[in-house]
Symmetry: C2
Subunit: 600 residues, 2 copies
Amino acid sequence: MCDTVDSGTQVAIHELGNRDGDSGEDIKGSWQEEIKEGCSRFVRSCCTVKTAKTRLPILTWLPTYRLAWLFRDFVAGFTVGLTVIPQGLAYAALAELPLQHGLYSAFMGCFIYCVFGGSRHVTLGPTAITTLMVAEYVNGEPVYAVVLCLLAGCVQFLMGLLHLGFLVNFISFPVLAGFSSAAAITIATSQVKLVLGLKNIPRSFIKAVPSIFQRITHTNLSDMGMGIVCFAVLIMLKKLKEVDWDKKRGTLLKPPLWKKILRKVLWLLGTVRNAVVVVAASLVSYGLLNRGISTFTLTKEIKPGLPAFQPPQFWLVKNGTVVKNGPEIIQDIGVGLVIVPLIGFLESIAIGKAFARKGNYRIDATQELLAIGVTNILGSFVSAYPVTGSFGRTAVNYQSGVKTQLGGLFTGLLVILALAFLTPSFKYIPSAALGAVIISAVIQMVEYSVIPVFWRVKKLDLLAFVVTFFGVLLLGIQYGIALGVGVSLIILLYPSARPRATVYPAHIAPDDVLIVQLESGLNFPAVDYMRDVVAKDAFKEKPYKNVVMRCCCVSDIDCTVVQALDQLIEEFEARGLKLHFSCMRVSLLSYDTHSLTHDP
Amino acid sequence: MCDTVDSGTQVAIHELGNRDGDSGEDIKGSWQEEIKEGCSRFVRSCCTVKTAKTRLPILTWLPTYRLAWLFRDFVAGFTVGLTVIPQGLAYAALAELPLQHGLYSAFMGCFIYCVFGGSRHVTLGPTAITTLMVAEYVNGEPVYAVVLCLLAGCVQFLMGLLHLGFLVNFISFPVLAGFSSAAAITIATSQVKLVLGLKNIPRSFIKAVPSIFQRITHTNLSDMGMGIVCFAVLIMLKKLKEVDWDKKRGTLLKPPLWKKILRKVLWLLGTVRNAVVVVAASLVSYGLLNRGISTFTLTKEIKPGLPAFQPPQFWLVKNGTVVKNGPEIIQDIGVGLVIVPLIGFLESIAIGKAFARKGNYRIDATQELLAIGVTNILGSFVSAYPVTGSFGRTAVNYQSGVKTQLGGLFTGLLVILALAFLTPSFKYIPSAALGAVIISAVIQMVEYSVIPVFWRVKKLDLLAFVVTFFGVLLLGIQYGIALGVGVSLIILLYPSARPRATVYPAHIAPDDVLIVQLESGLNFPAVDYMRDVVAKDAFKEKPYKNVVMRCCCVSDIDCTVVQALDQLIEEFEARGLKLHFSCMRVSLLSYDTHSLTHDP
C-alpha cells in the first residue's frame, strides 16, 4: 500500500510535460563501463577450475568413479539401448524419414551427454514430441531434418550462453499439458494408418480422421492383426512389470529363488518390451516371407552401415538439380527454428528436474541447454534430426539403477553396433509393430486427469489448457502453443491492465483539486484504463481546474505510458485544465514526452 | 508490504499436501446461477433506448442534425472521396488484386460507419497496413481476399460482442512503432518496382531488394521519369499545403482576397493531391497513346461497373475446375484470420482515439469493433477486401471540417459514381503514378524519431522496437508481431518471474525453524525461482527440520504453482524435512495437489 496523500502545501507538484530530456551522456558512459567491467569479469570467470567443472560435469564424476559401478552402468545403458533402437526406427517412420535416421539420431546424444550432461539419469535421443515437430517442419526431407538439427542446436547453445533458460518458465503447466495431450492424440492418429495398413493418409489430425474413415474398407487385415497383437503384448508386458508381487502376502516371507528369477525376467521383458515385440514380429514376418507369404506391410529397405561424418548439406537436390538452396530451406522451416529448440529444451529440463528430485541432486538449466545444443550441432554431422531428453528412456535408465553418465556410453555403442551389423534385418520389421510401439508410448501422455484439478484450482487455467489442446490439434503445433501461451499470459497480465487507483477531491489553496492516487505501478497494458479513470471524474462537470496524479507507487515507466501521459496532458490543455504529477521519483522526471507525439 | 512474521505460537501451520479437494459442486452451482443471471441481465439491457443509442450512434446525431452542416459534410466527404479513389486503386495494385477491388473496398465502410460509427472523423477503407497484410495472406487471389474480409469481419464482430477490445492494450507502443516502420519500408520497396517499371520482383522485402538490384538495368526510363515527377509533385503539394503563410508577417495584417483564394486553392490542391497527380499522369499517358506512343507501363484493364451484391464464394476455380475448397482456403490464410482483424482494429481504434482527443469526445472500443466488423462482413458481399480506419483520410476529413458521420455518405456515393462511370478511363493510369502515391503516403510512417526517446526512457523498449522492426522486415508480419509482443510481455513479466522473498531463521519450540516470507504474489513464471530460493537455504546443511513458507501476500494461485509446491513437499519428504505453509488464505487451502503429479 502507498502512504495516503497529504493535502497540505508540502505536496511537490511537477509537470511532466515541460521537462527536457537530460543526462543521456552520463547514462551512456556508465553503460559502456558496465559492459567493459562485465566482459573482463566474464573472461576471468571462464578460466577457473570451478567453471570448468560446472561446464564439464565429467570432470566431477569421472575422477571419483568406482569400478563397482561399471556393471550397473553397463546394464542400464544396455537396457536403454534395447529401448531406443526400436523406438528410433518407429519415430523415424513417424517423422516420414528413412528409418536409419532414427538410429543416426540415437547415439550422438549418449556420448555428448556423458561429457556435458548434468544428470546421471537423463538420456538424449529421438522422442515423440520432437518427432512430431520434425514431421511438421521438414516434410519428410532428410536434408531439412539435418539443417533443422544444426540450427536448433545453435539456437539452444546460444540460449545457453545467454542464460535464457528462464524463458521456459513462461510456458505454464496447463499449456504444457494441453500441448502434450494434443500431440499424443495427433501422433496416435497418425499411427493408426500403420496399424491398419492404410496408405495416403494426410498428416494433420483434422484431415487424417475423415480420411481414415473413408478408407477404412481398404484395411489390410494382416497388418491390423499384427498391430493389435503387438499393442496387446506391449500393454500386457508393461502391466506385468508393474505388478507388486509381494503386496498380497506381506514382505516377511522370502520368495524362493525360482520365483525371484522369474520376476526378474518379467521385469526385464517389461523394460525392453519394445525390442521384444519388434524382434518377435520381425521373426514372424521373416518366417512367412521365407514360405513365400508376403502379407504384412514392411518397412522400407534401410541404408546399411554407419552414417558418414560430414557437415550438413544446405541444398536439396532432386533429379540432379538443386531445387532448394539454404535460405529457401530455412524459410520453409520458418518458425520451427524457434519452436523446436524451445519445446525440445522444455521437455529435457522438465525431465531432468523430475529425476533430479528423485535422486536428490540439482541440475542447471544453462548446462542442460549447452549439452543439448552441442548434441544437436554435432548430431547434424551424422545426419541426425533434433533430439531431446526422453521421459520413457530416462525412467528406464533410472529403474535400471544407473550410477553415472557413463551408462550413456554403452547405449551409444549398442546403437552403433546395431547400425553396423543389424540393418540388413530391419527390412523384415512390420510397420504395424512400429505403429503399436509408438501408440503404446504416447497413449499415457493424454492428461485427462488434470481437467478436474484445473477446474477446482483455477478455472482460467482450464481455458489455457483447452485453447492449447484444440489449437494444437486443429491449427498445428506453432499456433496452438502461441495461442495457449498468449491466453495464459493474458490471464497473468490482466491485473496489470487494471491497476487500482483512488480518486478523491482535496483542498489545496486557492482551488479544489482532484487527486488521483495510483495504488500500483503503471505499465503499458494499463494506459487506456488509467486514462478512463482520470477522465471519468475530471471531465464530467468541470469543478476541478487542477488534477493531481500521485505516482508514489510508480517505480518504473515505459514509453507507452509516457506517450499516454503526454496525450492526457494535451487533452487537459485542450479543455483548459491542468494535470500535475506528484510524488514521482526523480529518475522518472526527465522525460521529454513531446518528442513522442505525432501530428497527423 | 506484508506484515512481519510473529515467531510465536499463533502462527497457524497448514500442510497443503494433505488437503482433500472439496466444494466442487458448490462452485458449479453458483457458476451456473451466475451465467443465468448474466444472461437475463444481458437480454434486459439489450432492449433499452440507451443501448440502442450506444449501438446505433446515428440515433444520437441524426435527430439533432442541422441543415447548415450539410455543406461542410458534403465538402469533407467529397474531398475524402477524391483521396480514396486514387488510393484505392493504388492499394489494390499493392495487394496484387485487380484494381477495381480497391474501389469495391472503399464505399461499404462509408455507409456502415455512418450508422454504427462513434466518431465523426474516422473514415473506413483500404489502408497501407491492411493492404500489406492482404498481400501477404491472399496471394493475389480475389476469392481469398473476399473470404478473408468476411472472416475478419466475423472475428471483429465477435470480439465486439465479447468486449475483447482490451486485447489491443497488450500491443505496446514500441511494437506498434516497429511494425509500422517495417511495414512502411516493405511497402515502399514493393512500389519501387512500379516506379522503375521492373517485372517479376518477389514481394517479401528480403528477396525484393537483391532482385531489384539485379534487374536495375531493365529499368523502364519513362516509368522512372513519371514516377519521380509524380513523387516530387506530391511532396511539393503537401509542403505547399503545410506552409504557414501568416507566420512571417504576423496575423494582424489581413491578406487581400486574391491571396486568400490562392491559398485556399493551394490547400485544396494539397489535400486532393493524389487525385490531381493521378489525373494529370493519366492525361499525359492518354495523350501519348493517342499519338501512338506506348511508353508507360499502364494498369490492367478494369472490369467496369458496380460489383454484384452476392454472398462470398468459398471455392477457387481455375480453368473450370475447383482447385481449392473452403477449408483449404481458410487453412491457406491461416494465422491471417487473427492478425488481420486484430491489427486492423488496432489501427482503427488508435486513429479514433487520436481524433476523439482533438474533437473532445469519447469513442468506445466495443462500438468501433462492431462497426468495423459489420463493414467487413457486408463488404465481403460486394467483393471488398478487409478495411479499417485510415489515418491519412481521417486527417483529411478532420481538416475539411466534417460535422457528422454523414460526410461518409458523400464519400461512398462518389466512389460508387466513379465505379459506374469512370472505370473505362482507369486503364490510362500509369502504374508509376500509383507507386508514387503509395510511397508518398507511407514514407512518413517510418518512425526513426522515436529511437532516441526509447533509448532515454527505457532501453528495453528499444529492444522491443528493434525486434519487431527486423522481425516484420525479415521474417514477415505475423512472426515479427509475435516476437515483438513476446519481447514486450517478457519485459513486463520478468519481475513476476523473480518475486521477492525474505529468508530468516526463527525459534518455534522445540526446534529452530526457517521462515521463507513471500513479499508478493506467486504466479507460474516464478515457480522455478521460488523453489531455488527455498532450496538454497533449506537443503544446504540441514540445520532446520521444518521450513515455514509465509504466504500472506499470495492472493491467488494457479495450477503450475500448486504442482510446483507439491513437488517441493515431495522433495522435502525425501530428505526427511517438513515444509509448512502459514498465513495462507482459506480459499487456497482446499487443493488436492497430489492429483497433479505423474509417476513416470
